[in-house]
C-alpha cells in the first residue's frame, strides 16, 4: 500500500512538473522577444467582468494571418520582401492570396462557398454590405471602440463611421474611398479665353467652345466637349461620373424624408436626363458615350479629341497630364471645383474585413489592421513599402525607387495609397503638387456616399432593374425616346422589381 501511495505521489509530482515546464516553455516563447512582449502588453484591452468592473484582457498575437487582397503589390514587385519585413517587425507570418483583379470577387465568393475562407479580405461597395448582412464577417465594433488606435486620435473617424451597417462595424477602411473630379484641358481654356465654369450654363458654354471653336487649332471640326464610359456607372455610386449633368438626381434607391424612394422616379432624374439629351443632341457629349470603355475615353483625351473628362482625383491627375503631354507637349490638365448645382461624390471606403472564420480576430485587428494604420512604421510598410526595395533614404531624405518589374516607373504603393490615408500620417515622401491639388479640391467639395443597402430581395431584383435602367437612360439620351417615355418604360417594365425592392427597404 505504502509503495502504491508513494508511486501515486511521485506520478502526481511528475505531472505537475511537466505541466509547469510546458507552461514555462509557452511563456518563454513570448518573452524571448522584448519587442514582442512590449507589444503584447500594448494589446491589452478593457472588458467588463461579471461585476461590471473593467479589467484588462490580453490579446494574443496571431502566428499567421492569411489575407486575400487584390490591391496589394504583386510578387514581381516585392511581395516577398513585404512579407519578410512584416515578419521581422511583428513576428507574424503573412500569407497573401492575390487573385487576378478581374476575378477577385468571383474568387472571394468561391472561397466562401467552398469553406476555404481566409482570415482577412478587402471588400468594397455592396460586396461589403452583402457579406456583412449575411453574417460572414466579424463584428469589430468593440475592438475599434477599445483600440489604442481610436484612443490615439489620429484616425479621421468619418471614414470609419461610413462603413457602419446598422451601427455595427464589420470592416475597417483601408483608405479614403476617393471619387471622380472633373478634369479640363487648361490649354484649351486659355487658348479660347474662357473662364473656369462655376455653374451649369457656364459649363455648357465651355463645352460649346470646345466643340465648335477648334480648340486644338487643326482647322477641322473634330473635337467635342465631354466624354465618359457610359451614361451610368456599373456599380454604386451609379452617378459618380457626369456630375454636371446628374446634379441632384440619383438613379438609385435612397432615403428621402425617412422613407426609401426610387431616384429614377424622382423629378430630378427627369431633369438630369433632359440635360443629357439636349447636350447630346447639340453634339457636346461624345457621340460614342454608350459604347466607350474607360480606356477609349482616356485615349480620346490624350488625342486632343475631347476637352473634359470626369475621372479619379489624386494620382490620375498626374497620369492624365503625363500621357497627354507625351502626345502633345503643350497640353495641360486642370481639375476644377464642381459647378454650383452639384458636388462630387466620394465612394465609401474599401474595407479590410476579418471573416468569421478567423481564429483570433482580436489579434488580427490589433496586429494587422491597427498596425497598418499606426501613422508610423506599420503604415509606412503598407503604403510606401520596404526600405531599399521600394524606397531609399539618402541623407535623411526619403525617395521612391523604381518598380522592380517595371523600372521606368516609380513605385507607388504596397497596399493603399499614402495620399488617401485616413490617419494623420506624416508621409516622408513628398507628393506631386498636382496630386495634392486635385485631392484638396475633391475633398473640399465632396460628400461620402452612403454604403449600399442590400438584402436577399434586393440581390434577386436589382440586376434586372439595373439592366432596364441602363437601357432607358441610353435610349433617352441618344434621343431614341423622350425622357417621359424613358421613365414610363422604366416604371412599367420594372414595376415588379421596384415594388419588391421598395417593399423590402421600407418594411
Amino acid at each position: 500500500m505504502k509503495k502504491n501511495f508513494l508511486s501515486k505521489i511521485a506520478s502526481l509530482l511528475m505531472v505537475a512538473v511537466l505541466i509547469t515546464s510546458l507552461a514555462a516553455c509557452g511563456g518563454k516563447k513570448i518573452s524571448t522577444d522584448d519587442v514582442q512582449e512590449t507589444k503584447q502588453e500594448d494589446t491589452a484591452k478593457t472588458e467588463k467582468d461579471s461585476k461590471g468592473v473593467e479589467e484588462k484582457v490580453e490579446i494574443e498575437k496571431p502566428d499567421k494571418i492569411q489575407v486575400m487582397m487584390t490591391t496589394i503589390l504583386t510578387e514581381e514587385n516585392g511581395q516577398k520582401e513585404l512579407i519578410d519585413k512584416y515578419k521581422e517587425l511583428t513576428g507574424i507570418e503573412l500569407e497573401i492570396i492575390k487573385p487576378d483583379h478581374n476575378q477577385f470577387y468571383e474568387k472571394v465568393n468561391l472561397a466562401f462557398a467552398s469553406g476555404d475562407i481566409p482570415d482577412v479580405i478587402e471588400l468594397g461597395g455592396s460586396n461589403y454590405t452583402t457579406y456583412a448582412v449575411n453574417n460572414a464577417l466579424w463584428d469589430m465594433t468593440d475592438a475599434w471602440e477599445n483600440s489604442d488606435l481610436k484612443a490615439s486620435g489620429i484616425v479621421k473617424e468619418q471614414y470609419v463611421d461610413a462603413l457602419k451597417v446598422d451601427g455595427k462595424l464589420f470592416g475597417f477602411p483601408m483608405a479614403k474611398g476617393n471619387g471622380t473630379i472633373t478634369y479640363v484641358r487648361k490649354d484649351w481654356i486659355d487658348k479660347l479665353n474662357l473662364k473656369v465654369p462655376t455653374n451649369y450654363d457656364e459649363f455648357l458654354d465651355m463645352l460649346r467652345a470646345f466643340t465648335n471653336d477648334d480648340p486644338d487649332g487643326n482647322g477641322e471640326n473634330d473635337t467635342y466637349g465631354i466624354t465618359a464610359a457610359g451614361l451610368i456607372n456599373g456599380e454604386t455610386p451609379y452617378d459618380i461620373y457626369l456630375r454636371e449633368f446628374y446634379q441632384d438626381a440619383k438613379p438609385d434607391f435612397y432615403l428621402k424624408d425617412g422613407k426609401f424612394v426610387d431616384g429614377m422616379s424622382e423629378p430630378a432624374m427627369k431633369e438630369a436626363l433632359q440635360r443629357m439629351q439636349d447636350a447630346y443632341a447639340e453634339g457636346l457629349i461624345d457621340k460614342e458615350i454608350v459604347t466607350n470603355k474607360t480606356s477609349t475615353c482616356r485615349d480620346k483625351f490624350y488625342a486632343d479629341q475631347v476637352g473634359v473628362f470626369n475621372y479619379w482625383a489624386g494620382y490620375w491627375n498626374v497620369n492624365l497630364e503625363t500621357s497627354l503631354q507625351s502626345a502633345n507637349p503643350e497640353g495641360e490638365v486642370m481639375p476644377i471645383p464642381p459647378i454650383a448645382e452639384t458636388t462630387y461624390i466620394e465612394r465609401p471606403p474599401t474595407a479590410m474585413v476579418i471573416t468569421n472564420n478567423a481564429k483570433n480576430p482580436e489579434g488580427i485587428f490589433k496586429y494587422l489592421i491597427e498596425y497598418s494604420h499606426d501613422g508610423d512604421e506599420g503604415q509606412m510598410l503598407f503604403t510606401r513599402g520596404v526600405e531599399d526595395v521600394h524606397y531609399k533614404v539618402t541623407d535623411g531624405k526619403v525617395e521612391r525607387l523604381p518598380y522592380m518589374a517595371t523600372p521606368e516607373k516609380l513605385f507607388e504603393k504596397t497596399f493603399y495609397a499614402a495620399e488617401l490615408s485616413i490617419t494623420d500620417f506624416d508621409d516622408p515622401i513628398e507628393f506631386d503638387e498636382r496630386i495634392i491639388n486635385s485631392l484638396e479640391i475633391f475633398e473640399a467639395n465632396s460628400v461620402i456616399d452612403p454604403i449600399p443597402t442590400t438584402s436577399e430581395v434586393i440581390a434577386a431584383n436589382l440586376p434586372e432593374l439595373n439592366t432596364l435602367k441602363s437601357q432607358v437612360i441610353a435610349k433617352a439620351v441618344v434621343g431614341e425616346i423622350t425622357v417621359d417615355e424613358a421613365i414610363e418604360q422604366y416604371e412599367s417594365q420594372g414595376k415588379v422589381y421596384i415594388e419588391a425592392i421598395l417593399g423590402d427597404l421600407n418594411k
Partner: protein, 318 residues
Amino acid sequence: MAKMASPMAKEQGPMKKKSNLAIRIWQYRYFYIMFLPVLVALILFYYLPMIGVRFSFYKYTPFAPPTFVGWDNFRRLWSTPTFWDAFRNTLQISIFKLFLNMFLSVSIALLINEIVNLKIKKAVQTIIYLPHFLSWVVVASIFMIILSPQGGFVNQVLLSLGIIKEPIYFLAEEKWWRPVYYFINQWKETGWGTIIYLATLTSISPELYEAASIDGAGRWKQTLYITIPSIMDTVIIVLILNLAKVLNLFESVFVLYNPLVYHVSDVLQTYVYRLALNANAPDYGFSTAVGLFKSVVSCILVLFSNWASKKVRGRGIL
C-alpha cells in the same frame, strides 16, 4: 496487333462457358488497357463534374449550405421576360451565324481550291486565317474605330460617296447591330472554317474529275456533281458538331453589345453574366439551372439535326 485481334486457340475451351462479351473483352484486352487512361480521364473530367448538375435544383450561395428548392430556379428563369429575349436572340444569332459561316467557308474553300499557283494559294490561306488569332477584345477595338460615327473609316467613305448624309452609329442602332456582328464574325472566323473543307477537297480522287472531263463536264458541273457531293459528309458532321455548341455564345457578343441594343443582342450567356456581375451574392444554383437548360436545348438541336440528316441523306453521325 494481328495477334491480339485473332482468336486464341488455347483459350477456346474454357471460354466457351463464358458469354460472348467476356470472350471479346479477353480477346481485345490490350486495346481495353490502352483505352483505360482515356476512360479514367473522361470519368474524372467529364462525367464526375456532371454531379454538379444537381445544384440546379438547389439554392446555393457563398453564405449557406445548399438547400433543395425543386424547380424554383427554373421557374424564376422562365418567368423573366428578358430571359426569353436572350433565349430568342441566342437561337437566332447562333443559327444564322452557323449557316452563314458554313456557306461562306465552303464557298471560299472551293474558290481557294481552284487557285492553281501554289504560292498564291498558300498566301491567300495565311491571310484569311490570320484574323482567327486575334482576340475578340482586339477585334472589337479595331471595328469600333473603323465603324465610329466620329471620323470612322466606313462612315467617312459612305459620306464622301454621298450614300449617307449623317454618320451611322453602327454598333448602337438595333437595325445595324446584327448585320455588323455577322460581318465581324465572318471576317474573323470564315478563313479558319475553310481548313477542314480544304482538307476534304484534297482527298477527292482526281480520277473522278478526269472522268467527268472526258464526259464533257465543265468546272461548274464538276463542282456541282463531284466536289459538293464529296464534301457533304464533312459539311453534315461539322454542322451537327457545331449545333452542339450553338448556345455557347459569349465573348463576341459581350465585347460588341451595349444597352442600346440589348433587345437584339443580349444572349443567354451575357444575360447570366450581367445578372451574376450585379449580384453580390451569386446563386450558383440559378447559374447551374441556366447551364442545364442550355445543355438540354443543345442536345435537342443535335438530335433533331441528326434525325433530319437520316431522313434526307439516309444516315446521320450518331
